[in-house]
Symmetry: C3
Subunit: 658 residues, 3 copies
């Protein structure tokens, strides 16, 4: 499917004087925006008293927006149940791991397992769906807002406990099976019935990782079922409209692939500078990219959520200036808002909507920029968005490029390592990000996929780490001609978090005849020196001790193998530092005949159809050489001199400005 | 008013054997002490059972002290309600932000909003006032002890919640006004009545900063009303006596200016080495001043509490040696106790009383020094106090010097930034301290004032940051001929924590035609290079993006202005590092014709009447040159060679030893 | 008593398929193992329903083990009360310092003060004792597992509160005496009855250290009485069997000397690499000894628990490979398991049993190595254990060498400093470990003793710090001819945590005529330069200001004494850095005519009878020179070239291989 991407904006008419609405909408149209997202968080406005709906303001704003030719994305307001509802049913509140209910006064204060909340949520969603489901201006719905944000996926309420027991019974059928799966013979943890199973918090020392992982899976499933409940109601009343949810960045407590299956479009909220400050970047990186965000933050999530959405995805909240919620909040370099917009479109976004139209003068997010300043003058992002809209409209319609590299990302793996770390330095999100980044530095397009997805049409499959490998995956790997690189701990656990009977890498031993007999986790100041193809490299964090008759491709100082290959399958027993990782990926990409373009550290590239987007995340201009630009291209946007925060878009001769 | 300052001591006769009292008192007299503070924390002694008062020991000790010619400062013991009272009314206990009641077993365990505690407090205070109000030896009262110490201002009890709702109703009258002031349309935070408003703790993510700030203001007002309740009772029974409270250092959770309005004397407890270890000094500073305290700790509070007390102030607890409560507790350099005493008197203290007479051999503060050692021998401070008493008595009576520089400090600003930081490096207490310190290094006398006070008679007004600027202040600034320097974020908020409709600096735009269109907060490793008057300097922490037709006085590397001036008004859009700040303040002081005396880093100066006090906080002797000492002066105390921890006092020819 | 040491293993037959038992046991026999510890944590297996015992599996496994000629050490399973018991009596659960009950789902979830738990514990112990007390294969019992591990000694339950009041009444008899002992006149903390005394948690600021210390002592006593209750039951039914408990490393919340008095054998669980990562070693040390553990970790505990056990002690859990519970978990260097085994035997261990036989594939400790890998193949430790068993059997039977150096360690001192630190850098465990380590680097054998033990037959008595010094100790020190070195804070407190009336060092002033008049605690970046015997050294952390007519042996830069000597008694007023400490200890050891052997940093030595064990903890081979090896010895094990992780054992000519 090829869609002409469009831009839009998140709008909160209820926070504006109604006299401003028409002017706001006229400006949106004049800027070239096409979509307006509204009604998020508006429950207290729509239902100020129980059952006393007030639709007037929303009716009027939808009418005005639609009449101007803009499409409405309508949000359910269920991320913010109002005070009267909480006071009537305090059991709606989520409970933290210390057993304390979280209070009203911000957002996302509900427990996914609260039956009364499911009922009340269903009530407001049904009422909205009935009223606006057939509205001609409403072309899409957003269910709730940022599931799980502020660590709200996992609630330790009595309702969660009850629902967890039901979930376990459904999964294991008999308590003996659960006891066996969790190994509860250990430490006398045996249960006589499902009613004995508590949530795994507040234990004296670490709880059973199998118990914890099942609780994490249950908690994710509660989000999936909550989302499905909303989406089912909406679909029933609003046929043909796209169902959307807005995911967050670097947030992992529920399985976005699973939620994505129930949506039409997996959208996400892209805040590159905010995420820079919240994620584990080095101080040097945080300084270098202070006003740009790290060059791979947005791209990683674009590629991930495109996978979650089976190809249909969008950026539904695009940062338009400083945010308010990071530890330090920068003003993006001039140009970054336009750059982020093009980066999203290059990766196949159907649309990009900015968050938000105006910068509110009040409440928690008053320091969060909008396209308008708090005094209603245009902010710097206003002009950049307008330019991006024009440029986007001028470019040829193109399919999203399907990558040659599949990059396997697993929420279940992430939770498993969280439940069962074995080493304080091991961070699955960090590993995935760093591996992804090295592939981008080699100029590659990447599809981030789940291990359950089709892996057939790829030339290189990269699996940074995947502890649970099932038969279906083994079969897919057996069937592929692609080169498959797997990182440490792959195949090291059964689905119940046990060590495979034949040791790691478990079922993968049919592809790779080797066994991990011991494993160790390394502190920051202990690393391994590795010999690989005549070079000397560093690795650390994790070290597997491997038994095999294979000749290793890389060995540590004691001659022990840390990289083995059989056929097209490779397994790493340690985590390579950046240059070592780059070398391995380069060698494999070369072997897979993927064209390598070495990126300057601040530059990134992405192909879309016949277009090549080049983005400069650095603080200085970069001149594209022939290797980077290709020989036959013409510049559809920009030139060979890409300024700081600049974008150039290359296409084939005669392709531009159609 | 010119008062001959005197020295004294805090005494706990109930912790001594009665046989020791007379000897203790004789020693106090022989040392030259004039005041004795007693009865602090003695509730369990005075009322061992409910209503069963035992005044005997206190009667006898007051009699002995008074008979020796010493004045008694009598304390109410309400910082330590006894166990029988807590057991009978556990609801007296303060509740922490996690919702847990704080237990008996130390001190300050009451909630300011507990009605039952107000009643019981009133009971013991009334009983004491009745018994001792007319006692001829009692010349002053201290109400309670160190309000708010150990973070006890803000209690999250159900009584606090109830009182907060009353306070809000009183302030806003209607819930719609509250909703509008807080911007509760955001995130569906709208309330239908005051009864729906909770305390702003335990929310999922940050609560509304307007909500938080009002809770902080309410909590401060509870302290004010509590203090007033005590003082009113005491005044009613003890006419003519001075009402005192003892503030702490670097403690800010209530408005000391407001409490000070209800007192006769704002006293404070000066522990320079303890505060050094608890405040945000660098490791280098902590090592350099390990046994002295930073040279500006005591002075800052002297100048602040003199402002709170409208000129009448004192040091009621002066550190006499090591304390017990810092992370590391040094033995002050020989001389420091005398130095601290003179520093206080130089700033206008009416009296300095040492804490405490004897070092107790037991309980929490057994490692806290006294004038006597635990074996009743004199400690090193004994001789220093005696010397300070003699020297003080020998000096001419003098008015406290009114400074030419007003330095605006605001508790409300501090709370606002706490509720709404926007940048992790931003610390209002740190900023104020560093700006104050640079002025002291230029040899300046400083008055620390609130923005509500009279600013008329100053030549330089320094406002490090003041987010809320009201019409009254604008009028005062309009009226002044002084040079006014304002730091970043000044004028950036309305009183309800909203962005002004005309953007920052809000109402100040009538003085300075400029607008802050964007702001960013910087991490430690990102700084701005600033060009100012031909020099290159550094700034950081905060950066405002300013729109103005004015020509900036200082610009960053991109040419954007960070310091603007209109008339006598200057606004900084960033936080200068020390040498840059020094240069700006130097230039403005010069312009204001304030005589600048460049202080060696360890030396400080303060004028009192015709006397100049010079204190050496360093570890080496400093020789005063003519610039420092002045031409015509003679040394009333010390010489031109000021030893480590030494003091020299200069006066005009023929003025000494009167 | 001279015992031929033997090796063994911890076995969990209930976690194995019964078909594997016989093969497991045959392998144990063939390896040369002699002892098998079983049934730990097996309560849910033995009593799956209340009162419904199932002994079959245990009967059968004991029979098989015994029939193979192996001795059974039988464990009570009381560290893991089963779920049905917790659900029936949730009051069994321990309560943390925040007042929250700790939940089921790991281990050690009981409160030592729960009367109902004491009853239920007694029930299962009695049942086991009755069934197996006379079993011919059962030669020893282990009571419970790792008392206090995971900070479970101190529970803040209502039952603990009640028991604490009884304990206090028993100790003080009248509340006035308690008030006096604690100094409760301070801060109005006076109690009218024991029923008013709470536990010392959740106070506003620090609670009274006397209150805290008594609570810590009470908590320790609860462990002592709990252990005694178990041991008494077991002894009653199982005469002649050794009573054992397994202590942990670097764990101090109860008095191991006191628990040891009720045991026959004080055993401990030795995990050198795990402890390395959890204790306060420097990053450099953690890197250097990452796969070996610091050379003194095991030895320190061997010497300590030998003292606790009055000579009879063992390692009942010996690490056989990586563990799962440290922040980073290394694979020990090849040879370390054998080295650790010999180190234990050199220090006099009666036996060493490895934890555990097989590496479980499930639950919390699935990454904890065993002698078998998870696939039942031998792990690297298997061969090392076998070799150690052979070597041990080949060596002559020998007495444990009684050391010439007594090293006084005090749990009460540790708690006192915890309750009353006065300086954040002061760490009693760290001080003791560092002093011990310097003695080992001088090649010394050491007995770690309590201050209540006999000190008669030593030549050097080292007391790193001992705040409470009683008359009995003073008498013992008066009587000794040994040189006595005491560190800072020794004699600084009464048993109730008060300053002695005559100041520190209190009663020791009869031995050393001096007084500590002031004390200070130093931060990391402030240190003292000390002159000692012509050399210049560094000291820090603590500095006493000492008054004395004695001439100091060492002085700081101001000439103040920091080391004083009178007769054979020396007192240090500061903490010397490593080389200074080494010099002092060297001088005293020389004077005491203890032969000094300077150890290379990675090498350690221990004598047992006529044997000298030499262990290389380094990563490189060390060649023993004549000084190290002695002139007349022959190598019973190894050679003069001790490889990395190697052991050499020297004996007198003709002594080997008996
Ligand atoms: Zn959002
Ligand atoms: Zn005080
Ligand atoms: Zn263990």
């Amino acid at each position: 499917m090829s869609v002409q991407p469009s831009l839009g904006v998140c709008y909160f008419p209820e926070q504006r004087d109604e006299s401003e609405w028409q002017n706001d909408i006229d400006l949106m149209v004049s800027m070239g925006l096409k979509k307006v997202r509204i009604a998020e968080f508006s429950w207290a406005l729509l239902e100020p008293k129980e059952g006393g709906y007030e639709w007037g303001w929303l009716d009027r704003s939808i009418d005005l927006i639609g009449a101007a030719g803009l499409e409405v994305i309508l949000c359910t307001p269920t991320a913010t149940p109002p005070k009267w509802l909480i006071d009537k049913h305090p059991d709606i509140l989520a409970v933290d791991a210390n057993g304390q209910p979280r209070k009203f006064g911000s957002r996302r204060h509900y427990c996914f397992s609260s039956a009364i909340y499911r009922e009340k949520m269903s009530g407001i969603v049904t009422a909205m769906a009935q009223r606006y489901g057939q509205n001609k201006y409403v072309t899409a719905w957003q269910a709730d807002n940022e599931y799980g944000c502020h660590n709200t996926t996992r609630s330790y309420s009595k309702y969660a406990q009850k629902a967890f027991r039901v979930w376990l019974k459904d999964k294991y059928q008999t308590i003996d099976r659960l006891n066996a799966a969790w190994g509860n013979v250990f430490w006398s943890m045996l249960y006589a019935s499902f009613e004995e199973v508590d949530l795994p918090n507040q234990t004296v020392t670490e709880p059973n990782p199998s118990h914890v992982l099942d609780f994490y899976r249950f908690s994710s499933d509660q989000v999936v079922s909550y989302n499905k409940q909303q989406v089912d109601i909406l679909r029933a009343h609003s046929l043909g409209r796209d169902m959307i949810h807005n995911f967050m960045g670097f947030y992992h407590e529920f399985d976005h692939f699973k939620v994505g299956q129930d949506l039409d479009i997996s959208a996400w909220d892209s805040y590159p500078t905010g995420f820079l400050d919240m994620f584990a970047f080095s101080d040097e990186e945080k300084a270098r990219y202070f006003r740009q965000g790290h060059p791979d933050i947005a791209a990683f999530h674009h590629d991930l959520y495109r996978g979650c959405g089976n190809g249909r995805w969008a950026v539904i909240e695009q940062q338009p200036g400083p945010v308010n919620w990071a530890r330090h909040n920068s003003v993006p370099l001039p140009g970054m808002v336009r750059l982020w917009t093009h980066e999203a479109i290059a990766h196949g976004a159907e649309f990009v909507t900015y968050f938000r139209w105006d910068q509110a003068r009040f409440a928690q997010e008053q320091m969060h920029a909008g396209l308008l300043r708090p005094d209603n003058a245009p902010s710097p992002a206003y002009g950049e968005a307008q330019q991006a809209a024009e440029e986007t409209a001028s470019l040829p319609r193109a399919e999203t490029t399907k990558a040659k590299i599949a990059f396997v990302f697993s929420y279940d793996a992430l939770w498993l390592y969280e439940a069962h770390p074995q080493g304080a330095q091991w961070s699955y999100p960090d590993i995935c990000f760093r591996w992804y980044s090295q592939l981008r530095l080699l100029g590659q397009d990447i599809d981030i996929v789940s291990s359950e997805m089709d892996l057939a049409d790829y030339d290189l499959i990269v699996i940074p780490s995947l502890p649970v490998v099932d038969d279906a995956l083994v079969e897919k790997l057996k069937a592929t001609q692609a080169i498959v690189l797997m990182g440490p701990r792959t195949g090291s656990k059964t689905p119940s978090v046990q060590i495979p009977e034949n040791l790691a890498p478990g079922k993968l031993q049919t592809l790779l005849p080797l066994k991990v007999t011991q494993s160790e986790s390394l502190p920051p100041n202990v690393s391994e020196t590795i010999a690989y193809k005549g070079g000397s490299f560093k690795a650390g964090v994790w070290l597997d001790y491997i038994d095999s008759d294979l000749t290793p491709l890389a060995v540590n100082a004691l001659g022990a193998g840390v990289l083995y290959r059989n056929d097209n399958y490779l397994l790493l027993g340690t985590l390579p530092e950046a240059d070592f990782l780059n070398q391995i990926l380069r060698d494999l990409a070369n072997e897979a005949k993927l064209p390598i373009v070495d990126m300057p550290v601040d530059l990134r590239m992405r192909h879309k159809g016949a277009c090549t987007y080049v983005m400069n995340y650095g603080q200085a201009e970069i001149k594209l050489n022939e290797n980077l630009a290709g020989a036959k291209s013409e510049y559809l946007v920009g030139t060979a001199n890409v300024p700081s925060a600049g974008v150039s878009i290359l296409g084939e001769q005669g392709q531009g400005n159609k």
